[in-house]
Amino acid sequence: MSGHHISSAKFLWGVAIALFILTFITVAVTWIHIPSPWNVVVAIAIAVVKALIVSAFFMNLYWDSKFNVLLFVMSVAFFLLMIGITLLDTLYRTDPIPSF
């Protein structure tokens, strides 16, 4: 564990350029109209990759203590739990229809 990782300027620029390219890709894929739901999947997948790059290399999680990584993972996991279980309700409602 240690938080005093120093990245080289070249490396930081490299990370940023990768992010710019991914931003361009995520816009570009909307021009070719991937059918639903794959368009959402692709958009989210690219966003996840970008977020991972930012957290690993800009936020130095790659070099950081395991507990800080765990915190980050935990927050995402609990968010997924919240949405996952909520969808168990909202997607599976079967409301009756009055017959008169």
């Binding site: 009756p96 229809i97 009055p98 017959s99 008169f100």
Partner: protein, 313 residues
């Protein structure tokens, strides 16, 4: 046991109530056995192992895997039984038989409307046939309500944007109380109704004659009955006391000041408007909370209510 059951639970008057009660009793009995055990252990230990001197030495018992597994697994088995039992009962409660008799329910602050397939609407009175499954399809006009019939062990929230339902099959001719159990404001606790269970023939007769029985009644008497039946008296008193809405006493032809300062005479048109479009004009000092009765009261009934109000001077 029966005595205790009567003390704990209201009479079971639906086909599903007994199953629910059985689980209720099972959990109670199991809990009491365990609770008594735990309590005896607490009391016995605190007496048996009381401190005798300040130099008492205690044994080092840090853990005991066998014991710990036992008291994890046994409760686990018990709760899984309870889960399965509760779940199967629930499946029964949410699956109405196909031939269930349908009644539409509308919750409004603070009354229940029951619509029948004949077009008849009864307020705060639910009439159902005995020994026949009844399905209530419910919605709300304003905020959340919840329809609860303790005798039938059924309850379901009533929502403004969706239909919800519950079903029951009454097993006894008689009356049962209906509560609103989702907090809905000032008169939440007055949002009561009664379920009347008739024999099959009586129910048919009631359905045919409901509404027309009023035809040959004296208007004032009919008005008084309608005021009770439609729960007007939940918010409007007849004796001058102030409830959620203005009292009916002395209302007729009095000068009313509205929220916007306008002064109106409480004549026939004003009262008619107040019943059909309650929030068009609001009396000063009162909240715009009355639901509309358009569609549930016809002209003759409104006239009767006005005749009745005229008598309250």
């Amino acid at each position: 046991m029966n005595r205790l059951s009567e003390f704990m639970l209201p009479p079971a008057k639906s086909t599903t109530a007994e199953a629910t009660d059985a689980l209720f009793h099972f959990i109670n009995v199991t809990s009491v056995i365990l609770l008594v055990g735990i309590t005896i252990a607490i009391l016995y230990f605190s007496w048996k192992y009381r401190r005798r001197s300040d130099d008492d030495v205690t044994p080092v018992i840090a853990h005991n895997s066998k014991l710990e597994i036992t008291w994890s697994v046994i409760p686990l088995i018990l709760v899984l039984i309870v889960f399965g039992w509760g779940f199967s009962g629930y499946l029964n409660l949410i699956t109405p038989p196909d031939d269930a008799y349908e009644i539409r329910v509308v919750g409004k602050s603070w009354l229940w409307e029951f619509h029948y397939e004949t077009g008849h609407v009864s307020v705060n009175e639910l009439h159902v046939p005995v020994n026949r499954p009844v399905k209530l399809i419910m919605s709300s006009d304003d905020v959340l309500h919840s329809l609860y019939i303790p005798d039938y062990r059924v309850k379901m929230d009533v929502l403004p944007n969706r239909y919800t339902s519950l079903w029951f099959e009454a097993t006894e001719i008689g009356e049962s109380i209906i509560f609103c159990t989702e907090y809905c404001g000032t008169a939440h606790s007055n949002m009561l109704a009664t379920a009347y269970v008739h024999s099959a023939e009586d129910f048919e007769t009631w359905l045919e004659t409901a509404g027309s029985a009023d035809d040959d009644m004296d208007p004032v008497e009919l008005g008084e009955r309608l005021v009770t039946r439609n729960a007007c008296n939940t918010c409007h008193s007849a004796d001058g006391s102030r409830l959620t809405g203005p009292t009916f006493q002395g209302l007729w032809m009095s000068e009313r000041t509205m929220e916007d300062g306008e002064v109106v005479t409480a004549d026939e048109n004003y009262i008619r408007e107040s019943i059909l479009e309650p929030n068009a004009r609001i009396n000063q000092g009162y909240d715009p909370v009355m639901p509309s009765y358009a569609g549930s009261l016809n002209d003759r009934q409104i006239d009767a209510i006005i005749e009745y109000i005229k008598t309250l001077q």
